[in-house]
Symmetry: C2
Subunit: 148 residues, 2 copies
């Protein structure tokens, strides 16, 4: 796995409110954004906003303050993401994470948005999605480049 944090998703209660807050701070949403998700280029990483419940559901964890699957302290409302160049790279990265002591939270598979992704948790329960998104461009260094 290339050592790269591509994207971080913040779970939010009200997407319009959250988007307006970050826009007031100067963030500008990429064209991939829609009524369900916002993607902001954030200087080398993408900051995404997504419904908190939808994020928990996508990761197959319970949106509870304690004791949800794979997390010692409950769902943090945040997921880190590593974007890979291919489905095979997703499989390889998830296998590596598990071999290193991570916990497989959601096996890789086709996603509703047309990609391929799975989730693992690090030893402290921090959630990582490993994803191949065929609609995102990755630059030579592997960074997600959003169309603006």
């Amino acid at each position: 796995m290339q050592p790269r944090l591509s994207l971080i998703t913040l779970g939010v209660a009200d997407l319009a409110r959250a988007r307006a807050f970050y826009e007031a701070l100067g963030f500008k949403a990429g064209r991939a954004s829609n009524d369900n998700v916002t993607f902001f280029p954030a200087g080398g990483v993408v900051l995404a906003l997504f419904g908190r419940g939808a994020l928990a559901e996508d990761a197959t964890v319970a949106d509870t303050p304690t004791g949800s699957a794979g997390t010692a302290r409950g769902f943090a409302g945040i997921a880190l993401a590593h974007n890979a160049r291919s489905e095979a790279d997703v499989d390889a990265a998830l296998a590596e994470a598990v071999a290193a002591g991570g916990k497989l939270i959601k096996p890789a598979g086709k996603t509703f948005w047309g990609g391929y992704a799975g989730y693992f948790a690090d030893p402290d329960g921090h959630l990582w999605e490993v994803a191949h998104n065929p609609y995102f461009t990755l630059d030579d260094g592997g960074r997600v480049v959003l169309d603006m």
Copy 2:
């Protein structure tokens, strides 16, 4: 405020264990790392590991699953960070965040590590540190460049 996520800190229970996990995935720690904190360049953003209790203490929030200061759902064990070029830029960014509807969690002030920083929470309680770290180099685009 420049729309930039500079660094993300994961609160961890055992720094050595967490560092070993990320090193097994291919992350390499920068020279600023020590027995209390690890900094990994992560492709345009810095991934930091820090004691979970120490992180909560630094942000002046309670490390409880629910009801801690400024967060609707308790401490997530994660803090985002925006690194600014000067103390004045820290003050300006915090003021902007509050004007936009964020909550001031910790007013800016000198830090134990020789910098200047404060914290705000976004409308969903996600914690942001705004910091000037005189020991970090920022490139032309404002990204933190770690000495390796």
